[in-house]
Symmetry: C2
Subunit: 227 residues, 2 copies
DNA sequence: TACTGTGAACTATTTCACAGCC
DNA sequence: GGCTGTGAAATAGTTCACAGTA
């Protein structure tokens, strides 16, 4: 292990760390909006329910952003995290599936706020094609490849029924998409260069009911970062 | 460690294991629907992109559900998992916040399918109160406590803006709710007996763009269970 | 003085590998 | 023969604790 570490151009960063950075960023943005300009790992940890040591260690994978004796300058750390996460640009996305769920996703303001933009939406149902969803016209899936190529799109959002998800994911991957936000209640298979983030509220609820059903509700692990 | 293990009435089960069980259940249900009656940890692992050893170890925390030389009977394992997760009943929930997002959540069919039922919805906006959302009438937040007590509700869904989330969560907790599904882009503080599951698609996207921005897209850790 | 950054210690989780059984 | 269940080994992740510094 030691030997291969030394050969690496950059140390391997644990995936859990990556998943926590957006949470740090979210809280820092809230602090910024409150006019807070400096924050210690202690303060930030209290807001996030994460240990200060974990925050410091996580950040130390990427550089030295704090000032000893003081803490972190909020605007600076926000800038650094945005850079690390690749948020210094707009990300265009395609949306597949314009049922109830797709409709809601198309109009979700939380994406645009953070530089994520749905530029085209698709469905297989002839009844839906041509209808407008806000500023977008629903297109037939057959137009998918052309749109992705034209815009150089790298992210697809899947909001189709579970049974159609794998097929749709395969199409996205074939078109060169490298990231998929999957709302379908299934875990699609993708090649290793493609990144998938799954969102399934039913799965989240089912893990919760396990705990609600226990006599003694086991105390949450202290360091457990909220997703 | 050994000593305290023996004293415990039941071994401590890691939280990661709990979070994976619903994924196993989801895939087993799909297999069941396909008419598959027996599955090995190998097969199931391939479907889920999880190692067979992990599946066997996870299940072994709860009992011996397999048959050596054969595998697991799909319907039996489904039944066991449903029991473990506390899904042998209907779970009634309240929904707070009837903006765009709350509206979509109220109509999401994925909940009812799994025995989760939204029995009442609330908002603070007088403009919305009295309007109907499917079978439900939007009520004023002031009616929250009475509804929760009446139905003995243990789960609340939060779909209010980030700025209102903590306040709403506090109210839910005060009413005796023990589980919260939080769609607000913030990590609310709760007492240790309350379980929170957060869903924030922007956070998921931001972790994804980190990877999309890397030159060499680091290979996903093999055992990483999709959420 | 009050904090960060970080090796080292500790803890948790995953994987291995094999005895035991159908 | 093919698979489970599970201790033990290996890895991964977290926390400690303190040197260093603004």
């Amino acid at each position: 292990m030691r030997r291969s570490d030394m050969g690496d151009p950059m140390n391997e960063i644990p995936e859990v760390v990556i998943q926590r950075l957006p949470l740090y960023l979210r809280t820092l943005s809230a602090l910024d909006a409150e006019g807070v300009t400096v924050v210690s790992s202690q303060d930030l940890g209290e807001r996030l329910q994460v240990t200060p040591a974990q925050i410091r260690k996580d950040l130390s994978y990427f550089g030295r952003f704090g000032k000893q004796g003081r803490g972190y300058r909020v605007p600076d750390l926000i800038r650094e995290l945005r850079l690390i996460l690749g948020l210094g640009r707009e990300w265009e996305m395609v949306l597949l599936g314009m049922g109830r769920l797709g409709w809601a996703v198309a109009g979700y303001p939380g994406f645009a706020q953070h530089g994520f933009k749905v530029v085209a939406c698709f469905d297989a149902d002839p009844q839906l094609i041509g209808k407008t969803a806000g500023p977008l016209v629903i297109q037939d899936i057959s137009a998918l490849a052309a749109t992705i190529q034209q815009h150089g799109i790298q992210i697809g959002i899947v909001a189709v029924p579970a049974a159609a998800a794998q097929q749709v994911v395969d199409q996205l991957v074939a078109c060169g998409v490298r990231g998929i936000l999957n709302y379908a209640p299934t875990a699609p298979r993708v090649p290793p260069h493609v990144w998938v983030q799954n969102i399934d509220p039913a799965v989240a609820l089912q893990a919760m009911t396990y705990h609600l059903s226990q006599r003694k509700p086991a105390r949450r692990p202290a360091g457990r970062a909220p997703a």
